[in-house]
């Protein structure tokens, strides 16, 4: 494979409220037994990429523990492997990455030591399944300097949170506006790029030299005319779990057979850390409909339209509706819960009534006791 991968997993996100107050977005639990970064990591491995750097900074503990065995994604190889990059304190460097370009620049040694011709830059919190080999083919055919994976977004309200592009008839990027108030096109950048490795090194050295640190505004926007940047239009399932609502909806998407089949059941597979939990147990009185359940769970109550992670207990007489319940949470007897997100190790005592809305699900912080 002539491409290496870089996953940017260093950004902070306040819109996820307490879900990301103590964890990186890339390590958010998704679809009953995965973490967000599993999707991009698996995409890279399944596309034949042998060498991947994950750049992390903010709340990195949960991510680091998830990535501690590279073998899961077949990246534990002697030729290549998984490199986890956190900011390091050096003689001319502060404690943090000042922006995405700076994050890449501070790890430029990874790029310089590689021999592969191309670099794929992705993010840790995008949920999708893609064969990057197809994108690389496109990139080479177009003789592009850079290819931006993008999507024709239909929902209007989404557009102003993306980089919006205007393309010519050949799909070459003519205009690039980051998070415009009045978007003039529906083509949004997904923040996934293919660049020639040597060109990326040059660009990074140049912008950092000029005291600028953001990859989107200082590289893409600025060089949009000078470089041959093409858009690769993707039309499959893709989700960015950047708000609570998005996070909630994305989990619920996996209850749909078509999405589950395409994303999880069909080859190539999304790999994640193996949990040594026993099978889920449904005792007398359990009524489970339209749910994803993981190992080690013990269900005695009613659960509907929900996504449960590992080792969740639902007590007798309890009713759980439209909820996301993470690892090791416990729901007491005769509780009624609707539209809530329970982080890990939340304990809800007996007879509680908790009702949120689909627009605003109630969040219970990790370890909360109610």
């Amino acid at each position: 494979m002539k491409m290496v991968g870089i996953i940017l997993a260093s950004s902070k996100n306040e819109k996820l409220e307490e879900l990301a107050s103590e964890r990186a977005m890339a390590s958010l639990p998704i679809a009953s037994c995965y973490r967000a970064i599993d999707f991009t990591l698996s995409n890279m491995a399944n596309s034949g990429i042998k060498k991947v750097a994950v750049i992390t900074q903010y709340n990195s503990r949960s991510l680091l523990s998830h990535l501690s065995s590279a073998k899961i994604w077949e990246l534990g190889t002697k030729q290549g492997g998984l490199f986890v990059c956190t900011p390091s304190v050096t003689k001319d460097n502060a404690f943090e990455y000042k922006g995405t370009a700076d994050a890449l620049y501070q790890n430029i040694i990874f790029l310089k030591r590689s021999q592969e011709s191309y670099v794929l830059i992705g993010a840790g919190h995008h949920i999708y399944k893609m064969d990057y080999r197809e994108v690389l083919k496109y990139h080479i055919n177009k003789n592009a300097d850079m290819t931006i994976i993008s999507k024709n977004m239909i929902e209007e309200d989404e557009l102003s949170s993306y980089g919006i592009m205007k393309l010519d008839s050949e799909n070459r990027v003519m205009e690039f506006e980051e998070k415009p108030l009045d978007p003039e096109s529906n083509i949004a950048s997904l923040g996934i790029y293919i660049v020639k490795r040597t060109l990326l090194i040059e660009l990074l050295e140049q912008v950092i030299d000029e005291g600028r640190y953001d990859f989107v505004t200082d590289v893409i926007s600025k060089y949009r005319k000078k470089l041959k940047i093409y858009a690769y239009l993707y039309d499959g399932y893709w989700s960015n779990i950047r708000t609570v609502k998005k996070y909630y909806d994305t989990n619920m998407d996996f209850l749909k057979f078509d999405i589950r089949k395409q994303m999880l059941l069909d080859y190539p597979y999304i790999a994640t850390r193996i949990k040594d939990d026993p099978p889920a147990k449904y005792n007398l009185g359990a009524k489970v409909k339209n749910c994803l359940i993981s190992g080690g769970s013990i269900i005695e109550g009613e659960v509907k339209n929900s996504v449960l992670f590992s080792r969740v207990c639902v007590g007798a007489g309890a009713s759980v509706n439209d909820c996301i319940i993470m690892n090791d949470s416990y729901i007491g007897k005769n509780c009624y819960i609707e539209n809530a997100i329970l982080d890990k190790q939340v304990i809800i005592s007996d007879n509680q009534r908790i009702i949120g809305t689909k627009e605003n699900p109630i969040i219970f912080k990790k370890g909360a006791v109610i």
Partner: protein, 423 residues
Amino acid sequence: MKEMIGMLLAGGQGSRLGILTERTAKPAVLFAGKYRIIDFTLSNCINSGIDTVGVLTQYQPLKLNQHIGIGIPWELDRKNGGVMLLPPHIKAKEGSWYSGTADAIYQNMHYIEEYDPEFVIILSGDHIYKMDYSKMLDFHKEKNADVTIAVLEVPIKEASRFGIMNIDVNEKIIEFEEKPPEPKSNLVSMGVYIFSFKLLKEYLEKGHDLHDDSDFGKHIIPMLLEDEKELYAYKFKGYWQDVGTVESYWKTNMEMISIIPEFNLYEEFWKIYTNFDRQLPQYLGQDTHTDTCIISEGCEVDGIIKNSILSPNVIIEKGAKVTDSIIMSNCIIKENAVIDRCIVCEDCIIGSKSKIGFGENIVNKKHPKIYNTGITVIGERSIIPEMIVIGKNCVVHGETKKEDYKDAELPSGETLLMKEVKQ
């Protein structure tokens, strides 16, 4: 050098399990959904701090080999030690199959010598239990024993089916009786022995010289007693099951679905590890009805599951009904199929509207000793066409077609063996 290494006997067929072990050694048969029987002993080893285990394979080892691999799930992939598969092999002038339990160990003496252990624990891959072998070793040292044999108390009326240890007040074994008609005690050998290695070597060599089929129960233990060696019985208190028959296999599985099973897989302590393809969630659909069951990862369920166990990646289509049954990995139960009191082995497809396990309780005509309690078994990689009725105590194996059944029916007690589906 290791203090103690394990030698795990996993070559047995388990012939009383019938079609369940047709293509799979007993230790590799699925149990409690996602586990294979050998997982319990392997997990016991690593949980007890034994990091060097030789696994002696012989009968149908393919699945067992795939399952164990280099031992990653049990963290037995070690530079010094770890798990090692030990199949029978030929030597310069001789070489033969393993002819008995002691013979199998004797033939792998070089493997043990490489680690030069002080003690060797002999184990079997056939049993369901959680046991701390390090406590047994403490007992062995405390008693200054030559051999320690783990024993289990069973109801005295059942004792005559087993090898019985008669002991004195100090737990010293004074007599060993194999399946005595009138047992003097209810202490049954679990087939778990700790030997001091020097003595093991000496007696395995003796056993080899005297017997062609050198066996621990038949030859080695009686010889040791005759020579007045120090043999002690270590009383194990806890759950232990030998799932040796179709009925006991089914029953022991069913014990796992009771509210608080005597053998609890849900405790954090003493985890049981296994090897499985990949982590997946399970999906229970809008029309699912569950009633006392355990379901493994990757299952897609849209039917009725009652008192049953589903292994990973089973598909239960809409309207299908599974009661009192064990459905193994990758099976597809098509729409409106009904399965009652059956064991469906791995990779089977049950056609829509077929009914399995219905009819009179007539024992199997060909193998009355194996299939006689009403349980019908479908062998691995079988296909049952749609709208077929299969009775009780039946055995079906292979790709069956409509014309293989008379009047779309296989009456109770019948056997139907066809060619297996190619993978």
